[in-house]
């Protein structure tokens, strides 16, 4: 069973942040959730992560109700949030260490991921010795090493400059072609949302609701120049209509 978001609403006091959101996320798909700032994207993602709970409705993963955070639903946040007292390698191994202090850590997996994110030779570096893009790649590796059922990403490239952002998008596309994990990716950047997604969800604001849910008609592997294709531009126009409404 995939992730089922079933008539979920979230209130903060008298404020209705999310109103009656229903969405099913199939295994192995890359879903992006696009919406303007403050429309409730993080609120939705945090509930999938189990960091907060819905006011009404329920969220199910594999038929089981989500009640608390767990390593099967790891989040990559907008800021890397690495631990400065740990080396790059120990940061990536952090989740494994929390799970299996007794059994020991599978360092081969850790090193394999360091290879994948292209940071061989930086194993012993501390986070503050890395660039913002490198730090965010470490944060992604730290999540992936847990082999989560679903990888949740909350504007993971939002804090990066345009050039690094491009590089990271391509990095994530290539990575996804290798691992084909279930990903829920939040962004307010229309191009990013369409380029990365199998399925695109567009939200409207006040209260947050799903305005559009559709399949992205682009082939894989993806490349940024696909953003010039007619299918891409059609979708972009639709999304812009919703966001500017």
């Amino acid at each position: 069973m995939p992730i089922v978001i079933d008539h979920v609403s979230k209130d903060f006091g008298a404020f209705h942040a999310l109103d009656d959101v229903s969405l099913t996320i199939e295994d192995g798909t890359f879903v992006t959730i696009l919406g303007s700032s403050g429309c409730g994207k993080s609120t939705l993602l945090n509930m999938i992560a189990g960091l907060s709970s819905p006011t009404r409705g329920r969220l199910m993963l594999d038929g089981i109700k989500v009640t608390k955070p767990g390593p099967d639903r790891v989040v990559v946040f907008q800021q890397p949030g690495l631990y400065p007292w740990l080396s790059l390698r120990d940061n990536i191994a952090f989740g494994l260490r929390m799970q299996s202090a007794a059994r020991g850590i599978d360092w081969r997996r850790v090193d394999e991921l360091i290879e994948i994110i292209g940071l061989r030779g930086f194993e012993q570096h501390r986070p503050y010795e890395l660039s913002g893009g490198m730090q965010q790649r470490v944060a992604i590796a730290r999540a992936l090493v847990m082999a989560p059922r679903v990888l949740l990403m909350d504007e993971p490239f939002g804090a990066l400059d345009a050039q690094t952002r491009h590089t990271m998008q391509q990095f994530l596309l290539d990575l996804w072609d290798r691992i084909k994990a279930t990903v829920v990716f939040i962004t307010h950047d229309i191009d990013e949302a369409i380029l990365l997604a199998d399925r695109l969800v567009v939200m409207s604001a006040r209260p947050g609701q799903i305005a559009l849910e559709t399949t992205v008609p682009l082939m894989r592997p993806r490349h940024w120049d696909m953003s010039l294709e007619p299918g891409f531009l059609d979708l972009k126009r639709q999304a812009m209509d919703i966001l500017s409404a």
Partner: protein, 287 residues
């Protein structure tokens, strides 16, 4: 703080600075300026000594009240060789160091865990906080008469005074370090499946370390003040006693030597903590 500025300048290798100035780059004027400011410091100190020497040579004040720097230096060498009042200078420095070592280490060993527990368990906070709030505004020196009545003039009252003065600083610093843990670090650990205990041990504790060290740097100053005050009033050896005893005998040169040594030692202890801090929390200010 001028202390930290000089300290940072010291760690820069002079050779690298010289290279910087030879190449015309933006760093050059800055490192040049540093040399100037260090020179200024030295000039001011030498100037002060010269003025002091001249004023005392002119006998504006009687020599017994204001001995010249040369007389103070002579007192220092005499003190070093022969001691004073039946104690050697090294002995007085030693006993003061031992007292502060025990008192301060005790304050850290007790204060840090108490602060951690108080930050985590509200009930404990409610129990201890009133005492803390009461002790804090009272100058520690006000406890000296009470401690002397209860415990005499041995080692115990001095160490207790250091504890009373220093523990609140350490506890409050530790608590605020725990509270200042960035929520993002905790969310990350939660989604990676860490338990509450693990989060405390592996995320909150290291996050609190920088503030704990800051509290220790403040605390060592407080501890030193408490100790010297206790020795001034109720002791038969130690640097505070030396100053007090020499003062009663109008040996002003020895009093001045004692004050200078107290100042240098206090500064050295702060430097030592800074050094440990740099080793233990190299990410401080960069994380």
């Amino acid at each position: 703080m001028t202390g930290s500025a000089t300290n940072e300048a010291n760690t820069e290798s002079p050779a690298i600075q010289a290279d910087d100035t030879s190449i015309a780059d933006p760093a050059a004027p800055r490192s040049g300026w540093r040399h100037v400011s260090r020179l200024t410091t030295i000039l001011v100190m030498v100037g002060t000594l010269i003025v002091w020497q001249i004023v005392s040579d002119l006998h504006v004040f009687p020599p017994i009240a204001l001995p010249s720097p040369i007389m103070v230096w002579a007192a220092f060498t005499r003190l070093l060789l022969a001691g004073y009042g039946g104690h050697s200078l090294v002995g007085d420095i030693w006993i003061s160091s031992v007292r502060i070592g025990i008192g301060f280490a005790g304050a850290v060993v007790i204060g840090v865990p108490v602060g951690l527990v108080m930050a985590r368990i509200n009930l404990i906070f409610r129990i201890i906080d009133p005492f803390l709030q009461f002790v804090r505004p009272v100058p520690p020196l006000a406890y000296i008469p009470l401690l002397v009545v209860w415990f005499g003039i041995g080692e115990l009252p001095k160490i207790l005074l250091i504890l009373i003065g220093t523990i609140p600083v350490i506890i409050i610093g530790t608590m605020s370090g725990v509270k200042a843990t960035p929520p993002l670090r905790i969310s990350v650990a939660k989604t990676l499946g860490a338990t509450e205990r693990q989060i405390f041990r592996h995320v909150i504790l290291p996050s609190a370390l920088p503030e704990i060290f800051t509290a220790m740097r403040v605390g060592i100053g407080v501890a030193w003040t408490c100790l010297v005050a206790a020795e001034l009033i109720a002791a038969s050896e130690g640097l505070g006693w030396l100053v007090q005893y020499a003062g009663q005998a109008l040996q002003v040169a020895i009093v001045i030597v004692g004050i200078i040594i107290i100042g240098i030692l206090g500064y050295a202890m702060e430097l030592l903590i800074r050094l440990v801090e740099r080793w233990a929390v190299p990410w401080h200010g960069r994380g």
